[in-house]
Structure formats: C-alpha cells, structure tokens
Amino acid sequence: MSGPSLVLVVFVGVLVACGVTLLLERSLTRILLGIILLGNGVNLLILLGGRSGAPPVVGAAPTAEMSDVLPQAMVLTAIVITFGLTAFLLAVSYRSWYLTGDDEVPDDIEDRQVVRLAERNEAPTTDLGGEGSGGDPEQVDPGLARRRDRGAEGPG
C-alpha cells in the first residue's frame, strides 16, 4: 500500500496546527473554532486510513475499486458528534457572556489563592481555622484548662 498522498497530509497538518493554535486562546469562541478546525483535520486523517476510490454504492462501480467504507462511517459519526458538541459549547459561551459580559475562560480562583500563598510566604495552617498547637500554653496540661471549663471533661 502506498499510503496517503502528500497534499492531503499537508491539509491534515495545517488544519491541526491552526486548530491547536486557536485552542490555546482564552475566548470560548476561538477555542470552539479551534476545535472545529482540529476536527476537520482529524476527520481527513481518519479518512486517509482507508483507500480512496469510487463511491461505495454497489452496482455503481466494481467492489474492488470502491473507497474504504469503514473510515467513512467513523468520520460521519465523528462529524455529527462534533456538531452536537459545537452547539453545546456555543450555548456555554452564550451563557458565559450572559453572566460575565464576555466568553473568556478565567483562571480558577481557588488555585490562584494557593499560588498567591506560595508567592507570599504564609503559614498554610492559618487557612484551617488556626489548627495546630502554635503557642498553646496548655500543650500537655489540660488540668489547668479543665478548671476553667469544668464539665468539658466530667469531674468536678
């Protein structure tokens, strides 16, 4: 088997390249366009897995000359799935615009908090309701404390 022809391979390469570049943007619209480009590239890549030839309609051409059917079926499935997801992502970006006024994906808030913590040298335990024994005078002498809050531990 000779494999795919160069020009189609170039098609795949260019579309994937452009798709990926768009994918790395922040605007959902661009990301979505990137996905579509990527999808077109990948679809052709799959199609290249089988041989080209006459339309696969029995009777129209001898079986031996027909193009490979299985990749076509797979691509068809992929196309339609991509369409569904495209519609959904468009709804997401509309919703995002509706709520925030743009369709960009901002950084995760909680993560940024941790990152900030990492940049300023802060004691993490302070996040956790001051857990940790830090300077607790009653480290090992609950007796004294108990006289303050009797009943916390029975006797008295």
């Binding site: 020009v7 480009l37 076509q72 519609a87 909680e110 993490p124 609950p142």
Partner: protein
Amino acid sequence: MLVLLILHLVAALVAPSLVRRWGPRACYPLALAPAAAFGWALARTPAVAHGGAVVETYPWIRQLGLDLALRMTTLSWLMTLLVGGVGALVLVYSARYFGPGSLGVGRYAAVLVGFAGAMLLLVLADDLLLLYVGWELTTIFSYLLIGHSTERRSSRWAAAQALTVTTLGGLAMLVGFVMLGEHAGTYRWSELSAARLPDGATLVTAVLLILVGALSKSAVLPFSAWLPAAMAAPTPVSAYLHAAAMVKAGVYLIGLLAPVLAVVGPWRPVVTVAGLVTMVVAGWAALRQTDLKLLLAYGTVSQLGLLVVVVGAGTPEAALAGVAMLLAHALFKAGLFLVVGIIDHGAGTRDLRELSGLGGRAPLLATVAVLAAASMAGLPPLLGFVAKESIFAAFLDQPVVLAGLVAGTALTVAYSARFVWGAFGGRPGLAPTDVGRIAVPMLAPPAVLAGVGLIAGPAAGLLDGALRPYAELSGPLGSHLALWHGLNPALALSALAVAGGAALFALRGPLAPVLARLHVPVTGNQGYEWVIGRFDRLAIEVTGATQRGSLPQYLGTILLAVVVVPGGSLLTTRPWQEPIALWDTPFQVVVVAVVCVAAVLAVGARRRLTAMLLVGVTGYGSALLFMLFGAPDLALTQFLVETATIAVFVLVLRRLPRRFSVRPLRRSRWVRRAIGVVAGLVAAGLAVAAGTARTAPAVSDEFPEAAVTEGYGRNVVNVTLVDIRAWDTMGELAVLVVAATGVASLVFLRGRTGPRPRRPDPSAGPEQPGQGVWLRGGSTLSERRRSLVLEVVTRLIFHTVVVFSLFLLFSGHNAPGGGFSGGLVAGLALAVRYLAGGRDELAEAAPVSAGVVLGAGLGVSVGAGVVALLVGAPVLSSTKVDLWLPLIGDFYVVTSLFFDVGVYLVVVGLVLDILRSLGAEVDRHIEAAGRAGGLTVDRAEEGS
C-alpha cells in the same frame, strides 16, 4: 478467641445507647468484655504454661495470605491478661471518674472497649498482617481517645500528632512485614519464624522498617514526643493506653520477633542505643516536671526505653527479666496514673506546687501510691525489685549497657521519690489540699494493681514457671526469677542505684538550677511542629507550581505530552523517508491551498464573524475533498453540518461582542504557534507512518457484499451506519440527545438559578440594542419587521424541502442520503422558516416540544434494537420484509429503516431544540434587554 473479639465489637456498638440510658454507670457492664478476656486467658494458663499454644484459624483472603489466624503463646498470654485485666479495672474506674452530665462519655466508652478489642487482636494475632490490623486499629482508637475533649485545640493537636507519628511507624512496619512475608510465602509468624530468612540487604531493610514501627509505637526516641503530648487524654485513658496496653505493643512486637530476628545485624545496636538514650533522657526530664501526670508520662517513656533494651536483647535471661519488667511496669504505672486521676478529680489540680498534706488527708490513697511507687523504684519486696534484679543479672556481661541501665534506674528512683513527695508531702505555707471522700470504685482499681505488685514479688517463683517458656524460645535459660538471689553483683548494683536516686532527690534544691538549664535544646513537640510547618509549606509550594488554574496551560501540557511522547517515538520511524504520491487529482491541490489559506487567516482574525466564516471555508473545503476521495455520503453530511454549524454560530454571535477582546497574550503567542506547528507536524507524520505501515487487508473489504446480501442495501456507508455498525450510531444519537438537552438547559435558565442582579459593568456595553449587535435583522425579528418576500418564498419551499428530506431518508439505503442528511435538511428548512418568520413561525412550523421529538427518536432507534432482542435475534439485527401496496405493488422494507427513522427524528429534534433555545429564547432575552433599557440583561431577566 474470635468470640472474645466479637464480644468486644458488640460491646463497643451498644456502648453509646447504654450510656445514653444509664450515664457513666454503663461502664460497669461494659467492663465485662475485657474481664471475659482476662478470665479466658487465666483459664487457658495450663495450655500455655509449658510452651503450648492455643490456636484458632478462620480463612479470610487467600490471595493476600491474610487469614484470621489467632495464636496464644506465653507472651501473648501475659499481654492478654494485662489488656483484659487493666481494661476491666479502668472501665470500672471510669464509671465514677466522669460526672453524670459530662459530654462524650458514650463515645468514650465505645472507643475504649473497641480499643480493648483491637489490643486483644494485636496480641493474639499469629498472622503478621492481622497483627498490623490490630496495630492500626489501636492507633485510630487512641486518636479518638486522646482527642476526647475535642474542643480544646491542644488535645486535637496531640491526637493528630500521635496518629501521624505512630501511623508513620506502622506503615514502615507493614512494608517490612510484606518484605518478610513475600519472601517466605507466608505471613504466619509461627511458620515465618521457622522459614528461611531472606538474604542480607532485604532482611536488614525489613528489620529496620519493623523496628521503626515498634519504636514509634512505644514512644522510644526519636519518636517519644507524642506520648507526653498525649497526656491531654482523660487520665483513665492514659492509665490504660499509655501505661499498660498500647505503648506496650511495640515492646510486645520486639519481644515476639527478638528470639528470631535479634541475630540480624542492626537489631541489637538499634534497640540498645535507642532504648538507653530514651531511658536516661526521659528519666532526667521526669525530674523537671511539676505536673504529676507529665512526671509519670516521662517516667513511662524512660521505662519503655528500658523495656526495649531488655526485651530486644534476645538472650534468654534478658527475655525472662524483660517480661517480668513488662508485667511489673504495667501494674505500677497504671496504678499510679489512676492515683493521679483521683487527686486531679478531687483536688482539681495535678500540680505538685499546689498540692499539700494529702498524705495525712488520704492515708489509703497514699499507701496505694507508695506501694506502686516503691515497685517503680525497684524496692524489695515488690515485683519491680525482682524484675530489676534479674535485668542487672542478665546484663552483667555488657558493662557499658549495664552502666546505662544503672544510671537510668537511679533516675527512676529519684523521680519515684519526687512523685510521692510531690503528691503527698506537706508544703510549708500551703493549706492542706482536700480531695473529699474517694469513691470505692475509684480507689479499688489502683489498690488491686498495687496489691498484685506486692504479692507477685514474694510469689516470683510461680511467675517464673509461667514465663519461662517464652524465655526459652531464645535458648537454654540459666537464671530464674526470685525475690532473693543472695548477695550478688546485681544486688549491689540495685543498692547503688537506690543510693544514687536518693541522693538526687535529696539534693533537689541545689540541683534545681542545673535541672532548669540542662535539658534537650529542642523539645519533641517543637520538632514535630517544625516538620509539619515545613511540610505544609512544601505542599503549598508544589501545588502552587503544578496547579496554576489556567485552561491554556492545561491544554498546553496535554498537547506537549502528545507531541513529545508519541511524537518522540515517531522520530525512530522516520515517516519523512516514506515515498508517497504528491496528489491523487490536481484539483485536490487547489482545494487544499484555499483551505490552508483560510485556516491560517482564521487564526489571526480579530472579528468573530470573519473567523467563523473562514473556518466555514475549511469545512466546505473538506466536504469537497471527501467528494474527490469517493465519499459522497460523507461529503453531503459534511456540507449540511457545516451549513447548520454556521447557522447556529450566527444565532449566538449576534449577541457576542463583534470583535475578540485584545488580551495581553502577545508574549505567549509564539509559544502557542510553536506548539501548533509541532502538533501539526506530528499529526502529519503519524498519518504517513501509520498509513504506510499497513500490511493486513482492511476488514471493510467484505462490507459491500455483506451490505447487499445481509443488509439489503446498496449504499454501503448507509448500511454500515444503520446496520453493520448501528451500535455506534445509537451511541451517537445519545450524544446528540444529550447535547440538545444541554443547550436547552443553559439557555432556558430563569429565576432561582438565573444570575443575581449585578451592577451594569462596562463589558456589558455591546449588548444594548442598536449599537454593537452586528446582525441587526436577526437580533429582534418581531412581527412588524418581518420581510414578506422571504416569508412567501419560505412558505413555498418549506414543504418541498421537508418532502425532499424524507426522500433522502427513505432512499438512503440504496443511494447517498439517509437519516442524518435527511434530518439535517429538514432541520435547515425549519431554520429558514425561523429566520424568515421569527419564533412564532417556528412554533407554528413545529408545534411539538423538542424534548418529545428527541425522546421519540432515541426511543424508536433503541426500540428497534430491543424489538430484535425480544424476538430472539441479536440486538439491532435487521431483516427484510416484503410487502405489497396498491399503486406501488411489490416492495420491501428493511427493518433497519426504523432505526434510520429514529436517527432522522433525533437530528430534527436537535436542530429544533437549538432554534428554540439559541433562537427563540435568545430573542426573548434581547427583547427583555430592550425593555429594560440601560439595565444589564440580568436585571431585565429577573424582571421577566
């Protein structure tokens, strides 16, 4: 033995309800569980007295070599007695220790009984893995007990510290066990001890890991810090866990393994050094304490060090002396803790600077305390003395160790004296402390323990008989336990130790400044806190570095992984060397050129519409390529899908800002482009490499015949979709249905789940009607602004198009077409209808809810499959039905047609749903915004 464990479990489970009914008094009945264990072990004495063993085995997990293998020999017999006996006494004691109204007694009782059960499992387990189970359970229960007064930070912290430290050791120990067990092929100690040990490195590692576990559990340096901190626990807990039971687990393990493993290289050095240092340092620290409980705690650490040295020595004499000391220590130390508990309970303090004259006030209590303390100091005729004598005797041949032991003992004598003096002595200028009358259930347990220590001394002979079998595991045993061995070096050494201790106590005044200054520079707790602090810091740093929270970075990482990992291995295959044809037909070149230009421009486009149209070009372009490739169905579908996509885009883009916002992404732009280019190269390379690697024939070569003979259709692609690979298509329908549902769910959000009103922000500028919305016609297409011509045309063509779509559907089996193309055509017809006539027109054209259409479609397709299943054929299998109708005559229907009808319906439903939400509903939003004037859409939404 299993029965006993189950008994403890049940008792633990019922404990809370009992306490709820009877209050702390419920501890009396609960004490029966450990008491039963004690009684049982006592009854079994004959069985183990002469080196026999009581064995019970139940299978559990064959694959892991983890069975409920229980085995009681001399050592475990002794431990069972301790665990059961002290456990019962402590529970009795607790019944009065806690006031009727006090919190958490239910949990306390349950956990304490559970702990007793876990401890029992630990000492009775023969399977090392089972021993580990008990081991960790005791850790967890002790965590809950130490943290008893949960709302005080110190006790929470102490609990966590004990948990972390002992679990650290426990896990190391587990790995050690696994190393031994995997080598020997069994985890039963009874078999392991007989099996051949692994060779050097493995064995050494395993032994060291196991020792880490044992030492951490027994609070031997460097793991001691958690035990003094654990004094935050209620005193009965300290008496049980930190004197008699849990801290002895480590000693028990060392005692269990020593007869076999003591010969291994690092064993003796480790136990001896760690033990001696612990004994001396902790003994010294005990002299500095003013809190009686802490004094005992440090004393316990010191004594544990002693036990580790002796029991770990692995000589028969030391073994005998060790177990005697184990027993003695449990008796006097538990007793002393309980005494402190009584003082604390009565006087409200444990600080020896605040106590005075208790000796006179509570003579009985004082007697008990003195007896126990004397045993601790190793004075005749108590058991402590007997044990100490034999220890000295056992180590006469090792002068260095011996010196350490004597020094440690001297310290022990000193702090014993300090304890008695501190608790009961009189303080000039301090009013005598009053402890009120001491309830019998509180005084009895310590009295019993001290009493046993008193009797056991003279009766050492009996004890000797019972304990010998264990010692003899390490070899022929020369010595034996007795109160009086005559005048010998050991006696002299005890005398020396007592004298030294007395001197230390007498000189406490002059020594005070030395004591104050001379102590470990960093206390264990500071060390632990430092480690935890550093560690949390590390966690923050690492997480801050790896978890940036930015989507582009995540995608970049994934793409890099794709590029580097599979792409890297691509380099070895050198796809660029493959000879491949330049093109199939020249026309391809034209199309590809156009598409590539469009794609590149799309990347740079600043306007949303432009970018979208350019991407559309690539879509239509690939449709053409499909055509040239010989895939008409694919081309048709691609063409229709692309059109539909553009339609949907237009519906949404009319609301979004006209241009992409210019972000400061310029610096990262080149990175992104680089990733893109490399990804493209890798994709192309893989396509070539994989395509040229093919040697085997494609499975699809058989499809055409199969399509005609068994699929009854000539359009092979369609037959593949609705018959050969109908299962894929079914899944695909599910995806479409869900996607449609999702679109609706996002657009049709109102009221409660809608956004709260927000102040109008600058970014919300473009959505005001008139300015910024570039598709004016579409933005608000209300009755008064509809174009007559377009409507008329639509009216004329609509039904024709729908009929055509049905034709595509039905002819699809034999000619290009089928459910997808048909459905899309019908959908586009609806879209045109909507664009022409607005949402009312849409409602008129399709008066059913999108959900129903989707559901019906999915139902029909899946149903077709199920019907086949019901009639006994494989799922989704199809057949040919010959029919005759007037006018048409003979014809046949392939049942897979029904499946295709389902496909048709789902696609129509999807498009309808999109038009309903992104079309009609968004129109409503727009109008609402229009009505609300300057306000943001959100506020208007609230109003609507």
